[in-house]
Amino acid sequence: MQCLRAPLSDLSVLERQRPRVEWQQQGEEQSDYQPYDADYCMQSLLPVETAFRALHSCGGGVENENHGNVHGSNDCFSNAWPDIASGMHCPVVGAAASVEETSVNASSSSSSSRKRKSENTRRSKENSGSDGKDDINCKRLKEETGGGATPEAEQPTSKENDKAPKSDYIHVRARRGQATDSHSLAERVRRERISQRMKYLQDLVPGCSKITGKAGMLDEIINYVQSLQRQVEFLSMKLAAVNPIMDINIDSFFGGREINPTCKPGSISMIGMSSELLDQAYLQLGSLQHDMFMDSPALLLRPDVNPPAAVSDTSLGSCLNVSGSSVWNTNLQNVYGVEFQLGRGTALPFQSLQGNLLPNNPKMEM
């Protein structure tokens, strides 16, 4: 069982390389998935999971079906490894690393028959990317090692994860002993996707690790969402109570310093949006602006003179440092650097705004 040890490191390599592959393939589609790059990476593991689980269940028993996805990917990988010859390792790693697909595509079209089904284009692109090769290699090794009858009987009725970036199809392998009509297969795909989402939600909602049923999980999720909404309301009430302090200088500080949030390269829309907002903010500040910029250094230097205007530069900076941001440390070089790297057309209005404000900033940084 030496092969059990080695694959875990390979798995980490696989996991590490997969995001890179996804990135190379899918460009701007990342923009909607900013908050979770991890989630986006995790999604692509699902089809590999199904492939390996299918392989395992073909090898012995159908019990896996009932366990669902709750066990997590490591289990099915470690279960699947003993079934596969060690020659599997190299193709898996190679598959994750490389991007060229044409050679395998040609071989896959010749090796087996397929049943097709239309689905989300995005999902099929994810699936098609890296695991087509895994599947095909699995299948070939299975043919070599297993008996003659069963794999061949499966072939006409099974599907494959195929890389077909042009088509909108998702390819699923039917398990041994399962019904193979399109309804049940579609349901199985749907159920697996839902259970994967439930797994993420389980990680997210605190105290959900013990609960395994769908209804109980949903109950916890509902309670959590309600408690979060109540918390937001409570916090807004507290902010309203404390608000009299927060009168003047915040917006001038904001308008002066927070020009370009460090956006990830995919998010053109956010840069464009924040430029509009800044324009609006400047229009609104209007005549106040001169007063603000003149007053703020004076206020900063003598905070005790004007106690109500207490939201000082450093405190707001520390607030945002609590959030873990580094742009707020007013390393303007970095900000400009980020902008130039992004190199978008919409960055130009920012540059002009920054040019106007630059003389004021050294004053404010005191």
Binding site: R197, L201, A215, I222, D251, S269, S318, S323
Partner: protein, 196 residues
């Protein structure tokens, strides 16, 4: 799961812009008005910072149903507002082909005859909870099971970030308030010592 830094920046900036746009001050507004203005700013900020998702559009659509909010939203969002408002209906039914629905019902009936009745109870519970979740998540009525979970995941992460950021803003303001008060009262204390 953590949100990206860009989200936090955008949220804070947007919220403070919102405060300024709604002119939150003790002179013009009572306590309740201020609270609802702050909440409105926070929600809009969260939706704007997250970008385009089903729940963000549902949220903004829900907020703009109140007539008084509309001007505020238009101010904040600018041209985005028109774009966001267009095709988002909360009563949007998922279009389903009747033939396929009938066929799947027939298959389900056939399978139900074999299965036992325990599954039915579980299914009704799940359905009830799903309905509740649809009410909670903004824009949830027009989503099917999978996208509902997807949007819930996203919404929970954003809500958590919103609560955290508001909390940190609150503590910052309170801390600076304390600091200014202590600085302000220091000369008074000295005077009182001298007097005594």
């Amino acid at each position: 799961m953590q949100v990206a830094e860009a989200f936090k920046h955008a949220f804070l900036k947007q919220m403070l812009l919102g405060f300024q746009a709604s002119v939150v001050s003790p002179k013009s507004m009572g306590f309740q008005e201020r609270k609802s203005a702050i909440k409105l700013s926070a929600d809009v900020a969260m939706a704007v910072a997250r970008g385009t998702r089903k729940w963000t559009r549902g949220l903004i659509a829900g907020l703009s149903k109140e007539h008084q909010n509309r001007s505020f939203l238009q101010l904040i969002l600018g041209e985005q507002y028109e774009r966001l408002m267009k095709p988002c209906h909360s009563s949007w039914k998922i279009p389903r082909c009747k033939k396929i629905v009938r066929r799947s019902l027939r298959v389900c009936c056939r399978r139900k005859k074999k299965k036992n009745q325990v599954g039915v109870l579980a299914r009704t519970l799940v359905a009830k909870r799903t309905q509740e979740l649809k009410i909670l998540v903004p824009g949830g009525e027009s989503m099917d099971g999978f996208s509902l979970l997807d949007e819930t995941l996203d919404y929970v992460v954003s809500l958590r970030a919103q609560a955290d950021l508001m909390q940190s803003l609150l503590t910052t303001i309170e801390a600076s308030k304390l600091r200014s008060h202590s600085k302000g009262t220091l000369p008074e204390r000295k005077a009182s010592y001298v007097g005594n």
